[in-house]
Amino acid sequence: MALLTCEDLSLGYEGKPILEHVSFRVEAGDYLCIVGENGSGKSTLMKTILGLRRPLHGKIYSENRTEAAGDRLKRSEIGYLPQQTLVQRDFPASVLEIVRSGCQGRQGLRPFYSKADKQLAMDNIHRMGLDDLTRRCYRDLSGGQQQRVLLARALCATRRLLLLDEPVSGLDPRVTAEMYQLIADLNRKEGVTIIMVSHDLGAALQYATHILHVGAHVWFGTREDYLKSRIGSSFLKQGGMQA
């Protein structure tokens, strides 16, 4: 059974579909990149997988479950790196506070963090190379450091499936490359399954094992097949990139 299976999803707002007939499956250890033009519904699809929105139609299954449990994954299986919001830019919070908040999903009604949670936060801070910054204020960090903080937080929520929404937007080329490498290492060395929304096709093709192309035509398959497909090669040409 795949880690995540989506069957004939239709997504949209107020009953009007913006994206239809999306079917794909993600196995443990995959690196799926969701590509498509602006406004094609990439972020909406992400929010649906996360359970923040309901699909108009179709089902989302997760592992060990034949019937969709409320059309979404079990929340504790998910780590999420959202796009930065306006609120976060000037937020007074230390790195430690933010990373620890990744453990919140498992808290239930417990008001305070356990020793294990605190240790997990420190481990992930170390993994993201943020040891020197734990007491620093989030708003004083560079864009790349902020993304690593949010990645550490996502890793506190899960070790299995990480969903990333445009993880490199607003970063300079060098930091972008570092970020991609960090994500690739998590995928290859630690076996974390990755689902990433990106408009950066070059990176998608460099690191991903599978591609989901959304838009008027939905295409899903391995990276190799995508390069050979008509939809893939025409999208590549539009982007001015060579396969």
Binding site: L50, R75, V87, Q104, Y113, A154
Partner: protein
């Protein structure tokens, strides 16, 4: 007047106790409200509370809390939880509800003047700017204020980490399993309660000051959520005590004196923040 003699009077002690508790509540909630860009919600809700209060006066209720509290809670829930998806967006719906309630309240006051009250504009002015209502609390009002504020403070401590997670990143919190809708609902109820309580202290037009100033002052200097929260609480309580005492000393209105104290602290903290940044 001698401050020591003044402090021995029971109504002053009541005012200080209630004032400290209320300003603690407004400061704690203020941090999350300011960060989530809901600064004006306190203002909007206080106008709703004003409207409800006039209705209570017109109907002739002796304990107006029975009406004011539920009405304000319902409006808070509408504004905070439903309002985000509604056709009329956040700030516009706050503006709509708040001026609407203000106008209707004043209209009702004039159409059906409560029996036995001749000085309508005096009454309105007291409700809007607090006047001396904090010094004339009845003992049941004092008890109610104390119970409600203690509940609010306990709520905040118990859900502190969840409030932080949702304030910082609502979609992450929701995606990883926090029940964000439920907490937003709780928060809306708590905000409504605090606003209604704070009306006694500073009056309905000045409540926003208690919500925004301590949080903003703390953010000038402190850089973690916990230190900002603690600092805002300390500032708010200090300013309220200073405000109540100097209002007595210089015979000024309590509400605006407290707010002026908050403004002074904000100016000082901004200056310190500006110097240390350089």
């Amino acid at each position: 007047m001698n401050l020591l003699i003044y402090l021995q009077r029971p109504f002053v002690q009541n005012a200080l106790i209630v004032g400290v508790l209320i300003s603690l509540c407004t400061a704690l909630l203020g941090v999350t409200l300011v960060l989530r860009r809901f600064s004006f919600i306190g203002d909007g809700l206080s106008h709703v509370a004003f409207g409800a209060m006039t209705v209570a006066a017109v109907v002739g209720l002796t304990n107006d809390m029975v009406l004011v509290l539920p009405v304000t809670i319902v409006c808070a829930v509408l504004l905070l939880s439903v309002g985000q998806n509604a056709k009329v967006k956040g700030d516009a719906s706050v503006a709509m509800i708040s001026v609407g309630a203000l106008a209707i309240g004043y209209l009702l006051m004039n159409l059906f003047p409560p029996s036995g009250r001749s000085n309508i504009s005096g009454d309105v002015c007291t409700t809007l700017f607090g006047g001396t209502s904090i010094l004339t609390l009845r003992s049941d009002e004092v008890t109610l204020s104390i119970i409600l504020s203690v509940i609010v403070v306990l709520f905040f401590i118990f859900f502190y980490h969840k409030i932080f997670a949702i304030t910082f990143d609502e979609s992450f919190a929701g995606a990883t399993g926090a029940r964000t809708k439920l907490y937003n609902l709780f928060l809306a109820v708590v905000i409504a309660v605090v606003v209604v309580l704070a009306m006694n202290l500073v009056g309905s037009l000045l409540i926003s000051a208690l919500v925004v100033f301590p949080a903003l002052s703390a953010m000038r200097i402190f850089k973690s959520f916990r230190s900002v929260t603690i600092c805002a609480a300390v500032i708010s309580v200090t300013c309220t005590v200073a405000g109540i005492l100097s209002a007595a000393q210089f015979n000024t209105p309590v509400g605006s004196t407290i707010v002026v104290a908050d403004i002074v602290v904000f100016a000082v903290f901004s200056l310190i923040g500006w110097i240390t940044e350089k």
